[in-house]
């Protein structure tokens, strides 16, 4: 994957223009664990105090191993899961406080592309009907205009008009993912949350979908929150990257800076796990020992101290705060 993809050469477009489009502040999502009497015994802290912001037109990659809360973060932002605490601010409005019609209107601006292309399309409906439904929900246009728009958007994601009346099972995984993208695009949102959009696809199809995502981003001036565990994919598509561990954001940096100069020990370990094509290159490898701790009962202090090769005493007691170093590079670690 890493091999065949051209790396993003452009300098991050983030600096200077601090055009924040979406701001996530101290977002928390705890899932209750209920006992036999439906009482809350304890909580799974899936997302534990995450803050970041999206800048208009950028792609923000959110990476981390499975179970670290990156998908939950995406779903909580969209209110598919009710947040436990925190604010998500879009266009001056706190999404977490919206109800009814206001919430529906904000959903025109924030859309999502899902991981599983097989269960994300209703098997009983024709592709055209699936896409048209989104327009119907938002009461846009009449029958003819809607059909026209569906045809247009299908064309944008590389389908012909004869695909309009096909059923989802007549398509392959990559094609279905493109239909999923068309569904997100059709009401003209400004932010799309991509929840591992390519992880269920073959490598050859992955690059096809990623290129489509990039083309569409330029054409519609979209902002992506790109959730993935594939560091190669994230490097290819993101302008900035946030690294999550156990429900917390541990490092955030522009892509090139992160890959050349990772600061947090967890990020270093992640990056040293990327295979290098040249077998003679010697690298310093950081191996993590042990399992990711349970989010029900996260470690005190820095959540990473149980597996960190550089752990100090202070790490067990105090929780590190996010520090901004040079070049927009932020890290939450006592080493810096």
């Amino acid at each position: 994957m890493v091999l065949e993809m051209s790396l993003k050469q452009s300098t991050p477009k983030t600096e200077a223009s601090n055009d924040v489009i979406l701001e996530v502040k101290n977002l928390k999502k705890y899932f209750p664990i209920t006992g036999s009497l439906n009482n809350t015994v304890s909580q799974v802290k899936a997302v534990n105090d995450v803050s970041f912001s999206l800048i208009k037109g950028e792609t923000y990659g959110l990476v981390g191993e499975s179970g670290c809360g990156k998908s939950t973060t995406g779903r909580t932002i969209l209110r598919l899961l009710e947040p436990t605490e925190g604010e998500v601010i879009y266009d001056g409005q706190n999404i977490n406080k919206l109800k009814g019609n206001d919430l529906r209107n904000i959903r025109r601006e924030l859309q999502m592309v899902f991981q599983d292309p097989y269960s994300s399309l209703n098997p009983r409906k024709r592709v055209g009907t699936i896409l048209e439904e989104t327009l119907k929900i938002h009461k846009m246009g009449n029958k003819k205009e809607r059909t026209e728009q569906v045809m247009n958007i299908l064309n944008k994601v590389g389908f012909q008009r004869e695909h309009y009346y096909r059923f989802p099972h007549e398509f392959s995984g990559g094609q279905r993912q493109r239909i999923g993208l068309a569904r997100a695009l059709i009401i003209n949102p400004s932010i799309i949350i991509c929840d591992e959009p390519v992880s269920a696809l073959d490598v050859s199809i992955q690059s096809q979908v990623l290129n489509l995502l990039e083309d569409i981003q330029q054409e519609f001036n979209l902002t992506y929150l790109f959730i993935s565990h594939d560091l190669g994919v994230v490097r290819h598509i993101s302008d900035r990257i946030g690294v999550m561990y156990l429900g917390k954001l541990v490092e955030e940096s522009p892509t090139d800076e992160l890959y050349t100069n990772p600061l947090h020990p967890y990020t270093k370990a992640l990056l040293s796990a990327i295979p290098v094509p040249n077998p003679f290159v010697k690298r310093e490898k950081i191996k993590l020992i042990g399992e990711i701790p349970s989010p029900v009962n996260p470690p005190s202090g820095c959540v990473f101290h149980t597996r960190c090769p550089f752990a100090m005493d202070v790490c067990k007691q105090d929780e590190p705060i996010m520090k901004t170093l040079d070049l927009e590079h932020k890290v939450a670690c006592h080493l810096y």
């Binding site: 045809m151 309009y164 099972h169």
Partner: protein, 299 residues
């Protein structure tokens, strides 16, 4: 490249696709032996029930003391019963009653079960209440519950339908509920919520079509079951009141003379058996047919 179609092209395309799918469906139906034979049996029985009364030379109520318990043959096709009534005419008229009850119960339970199943699966709070009620109803054996309800309502055709509806609705609701529980976890339901769809749009336009196939299959089995239970009720004297023929009544009449007049139990028995057999075949065939994932495999 032209990417927007004119209205006309669109309609042509649409009717083409629909025709293709319809042809495929017909072809698959014809190649499905179970569904085909089941539906042939049912069509014959239903046609007999509708048409035959116009051709029988006797009404089901016509008494003839001279011709009591005549064996089949001659002008009495299936023989006569202990009052000298023509058995063929009574079986055919009984078919009307039995099929009508079965059909009505299947339709009403499907509608009620669908509503209860959909809402209790989608809204967790309703689930507890509705499912406990249906658990309570399901705890009674079907036939006992039906008898109890009939005993309190009195033997009448409408009451049989009401009793059987109460007996069968919980099981339909359960079937629908379990199907909905699977469907509502699918990503496309989440996608609809992400797009801001209302819960009634999600429930009726997106989840309901996906639980229709188990429901239709269940409904054909309930059709068959209610014919059997109606027969049992009438046999026990708690169903269709006496002079009117129903298959259960006929069996009841035949019971006392079973050693002298075998035809009085045999023919209604065969009628019940054939109908239930046909319905069950049809239901099994439908189950295979309605699965959308089979579309490709059986081309």
């Amino acid at each position: 490249m032209q990417n927007v179609m004119t209205e006309e092209q669109l309609n042509v395309l649409k009717s083409d696709m629909k025709k293709k799918h319809r042809n495929l469906l017909v072809k698959r139906f014809l190649s499905n032996k179970l569904a085909l034979s089941g539906s042939i049996i049912m069509i014959v029985i239903i046609l007999l029930a509708i048409i035959a009364p116009f051709f029988t030379s006797f009404t089901p109520y016509e008494l003839d003391a001279m011709k009591r318990l005549k064996a089949p043959g001659g002008e009495h096709f299936f023989g006569t019963d202990n009052y000298g009534r023509d058995l063929f005419s009574r079986v055919v008229h009984g078919a009307r009653v039995s099929l009508m009850i079965g059909f009505a119960v299947a339709i009403i339970t499907s509608i009620l079960g669908m509503i209860i199943g959909l809402y209790s699966a989608y809204f967790k709070k309703l689930d507890g209440v509705l499912m406990r009620i249906s658990d309570g109803l399901m705890a009674f054996p079907a036939i006992l519950l039906a008898i109890a309800i009939m005993a309190s309502l009195g033997p009448r055709l409408e009451n049989v339908i009401i009793a059987l509806t109460i007996v069968f609705t919980p099981s339909v609701a359960r079937t629908v509920r379990s199907a909905v529980l699977v469907v509502k976890e699918q990503t496309y339901v989440e996608a609809l919520r992400a797009q801001g769809a209302s819960s009634s749009r999600i429930i009726w336009l997106n989840i309901a079509p996906n639980v229709l196939s188990p429901l239709i299959v269940q409904a054909t089995f309930i059709f068959a079951d209610s014919i059997i239970i109606e027969a049992a009720l009438s046999f026990l004297g708690a169903g269709i009141p006496a002079p009117d023929p129903s298959w259960g009544n006929l069996l009841y009449d035949g019971k006392t003379v079973i050693f002298n007049a075998w035809w009085m139990t045999l023919f209604p028995g065969i009628a019940i058996m054939l109908t239930v057999f046909g319905l069950n075949l049809f239901g099994d065939g439908l189950r295979d047919l309605l699965d959308p994932h089979n579309n490709k495999a059986k081309k």
